[in-house]
């Protein structure tokens, strides 16, 4: 049986995803947590992990170089990849929000919105019937309203601390975000056995986790 390749997001979601896999009975080596390698093989489980930028996980899975991946719903909404979204892993909870400086209004003539999620942002404002100009930034989005680049930002908010420390407030809630297990459509059929097992084990862990927190 050929090896299963899983695309993991580096950074924020990574450790939670690793913990979830361990809880589901997958034996992952300790070096996993601090390694700088981009490809890690776990022969005992017949699994290979690739470590990707969160925004790129969907790309690897859509092209089939990874069979499954763990990606935030924010990324899925932004990228609209042709992949199966099979399971809500309920980790890395946060939400997408519109934020800005308190007591400010959007510019009437040419309102500007800075974001890492141009597709999500333009879709959201279009649905609200507002015409805005989207400015694409790659990080530190909170800077934009502070120095006058944009009236509003669209970004993920988890604790709200970054907003608060920079004197920003949340205006609108766009969508709740959690991480999802995504599967390549071909792998979904060709490697159905190991993938079904992965889904089943993860689903069980997620379900148990839910009961714990209730």
């Amino acid at each position: 049986m050929s090896m299963l390749t899983i695309a993991m997001p580096k950074g924020r979601i990574f450790s939670e995803a690793v913990e979830l896999l361990r809880k589901s009975g997958y034996k992952l080596p300790d070096e996993f947590d601090e390694s700088r390698k981009l490809i890690l093989t776990v022969p005992e489980e017949n699994i290979r992990f690739i470590l990707a930028k969160p925004m790129d996980v969907g790309t690897y899975v859509e092209h089939g170089v990874a069979d499954v991946g763990i990606a935030g719903k924010d990324v899925m909404m932004e990228e609209e990849r042709d992949v199966f979204e099979v399971l809500d892993l309920k980790i890395s909870k946060c939400h997408l929000a519109v934020a800005g400086l308190p007591d400010t209004k959007m510019n009437d003539i040419a309102p500007k919105v800075a974001t890492k999620y141009p597709n999500v942002a333009s879709k959201y404002f279009r649905e609200q019937g507002e015409q805005v100009e989207i400015i694409h930034l790659n990080g530190s989005i909170e800077l934009a309203p502070l120095i006058g680049l944009a009236d509003r930002i669209v970004d993920i908010v988890s604790t709200g601390r970054t907003l608060k420390e920079n004197g920003l407030v949340e205006f609108e809630h766009i969508a709740d975000i959690t991480s999802r297990l995504i599967v390549n459509p071909v792998s979904y059929r060709m490697k159905d056995k190991p993938i079904d097992m992965l889904v089943e084990r993860l689903a069980k862990t997620v379900e148990e986790g839910k009961e714990d927190s209730d």
């Binding site: 099979v86 399971l87 071909v186 060709m190």
Partner: protein
């Protein structure tokens, strides 16, 4: 401005790939012809109003242009609609069923980044005028035998039935717009969204459970029985009975090991009407081919007839076949002017033997070694006429 780049999604087929493509195409075509299907060609450009609107391809993927009278034209996005147009007009007098086949380039504009061709070759068949399950079985079996002849081994076919999902959704949800939302989630393969949406619907626990179980309906023939316990209406039961019949017939063709049921497959338009299938192979991230029954397409061309067929994407098939090395032997005759005739006669002798022979005037090349390196063998016709050196 001089443009060196190609438009997004357009690809060149260089000589090395060309011979491989040709050989794989021939292998498929031979099998299709041996099953009695007749190949045909249709124009690259069609009217948007006739072929563009009726095709299964989404509007935003069509390449459109205007002719001199101002009609909107499309580069054909698939071959099924053009063949339906022909079947409904020129082949009107032929008696049904018709067995037609094609091998042609189709065009679909890409919205996202590279890595996806916007023009690619499709090889396929249309079996028009036979509404029986036997016709569906023939289409699927022929597809498998054509693929096997190319040397493809590791592949699977997922079969579903539009009638089952429609019946189940109709029974439980009633209104079409409620069904449409759920169908959209299945089409986008967003099972998380599907589950959440079902949980939010105001339905009994039993009905919710019926809808949720749709996601797990994949596997062998037993899944058809499992699904049968979820629907009550005749059309739903009939769809599943048809699927079972189809699987039994595919056993007679000895291809059932390639088949899996996947009862939550839906199509994005009301194009396919019952049996629908997709073809997957290891090593390629996209389906290699797909097909199904489209019983309402021909009536849009005013000649109602049931029809089924499949189309294989040659580019994805080549990817699945992996590294094919197909170097044909090429020979070279290098001649000087005074030996032209003798060289030509010798070249023709070799060509009649079926060899590929290049004739090259020695004064036309600078670096003989570099040039001759690409050939299997070189013959020299130089100096005093009559002397052959090898």
């Amino acid at each position: 401005m001089f443009m060196f780049e190609k438009p997004l999604g357009m690809r060149d087929t260089l000589p090395g790939l060309y011979v491989i493509k040709e050989s794989v195409r021939k292998k498929m075509m031979n099998v299709i012809e041996s099953w009695g299907y007749q190949f045909l060609e249709t124009p690259t450009l069609e009217f948007y109003e006739t072929v563009g609107v009726q095709s299964a391809i989404q509007e935003q993927q069509l390449f459109k242009l205007l002719d001199r009278q101002g009609h909107t034209l499309v580069l054909r996005p698939d071959m099924t609609a053009p063949i339906a147009r022909i079947a409904a007009s020129k082949l009107m007098k032929e008696s049904l069923p018709l067995r037609l086949a094609y091998s042609a380039n189709v065009f679909r504009a890409q919205q996202h980044e590279g890595g996806r061709p916007a023009e690619f070759e499709q090889i396929g068949i249309e079996l028009i005028g036979d509404g029986t399950i036997s016709a569906d079985a023939e289409a699927i079996a022929l597809m498998i035998y054509a693929l096997k002849n190319t040397g493809l081994k590791d592949f699977k076919i997922s079969i579903g039935h539009i009638g089952f999902i429609n019946a189940l959704f109709g029974e439980i949800l009633g209104k079409e717009e409620r069904a449409e939302k759920l169908r959209r989630y299945l089409y986008e393969k967003n099972f998380v969204g599907y589950r959440e949406h079902v949980k939010r619907l105001s339905l009994s626990t039993i009905d919710k459970e019926r809808l949720l179980r749709v996601i797990d309906l994949k596997g062998g023939i037993e899944k058809a029985d499992e699904a049968s316990s979820l629907v009550a209406c005749d059309s739903g039961k009939k769809a599943l009975e048809d699927l079972k019949q189809l699987l039994i017939q595919l056993r007679a063709y000895e291809v059932d090991q390639y088949i899996k049921l996947e009862l939550n497959i839906v199509s994005h338009m009301s194009y396919y009407t019952s049996v629908i299938f997709e073809l997957y192979a290891n090593g390629v991230g996209l389906p290699i081919g797909n097909g199904g029954r489209y019983d309402h397409l021909l009536e849009k061309f005013e000649r109602p007839a049931p029809a089924t067929g499949f189309g294989i994407r040659l580019d994805n098939l080549l990817e699945a076949l992996g590294d094919l090395k197909l170097n044909k032997d090429r020979y070279c005759i290098i001649f000087s002017r005074e030996n032209r005739q003798e060289a030509f006669r010798y070249a023709n002798k070799l060509r009649k033997e079926g060899k590929q022979v290049v004739m090259q005037d020695i004064s036309g090349i600078d670096q003989i070694d570099r040039f001759t390196g690409q050939f299997t063998d070189i013959y020299y016709f130089l100096g005093k006429p009559g002397k052959v050196r090898e």
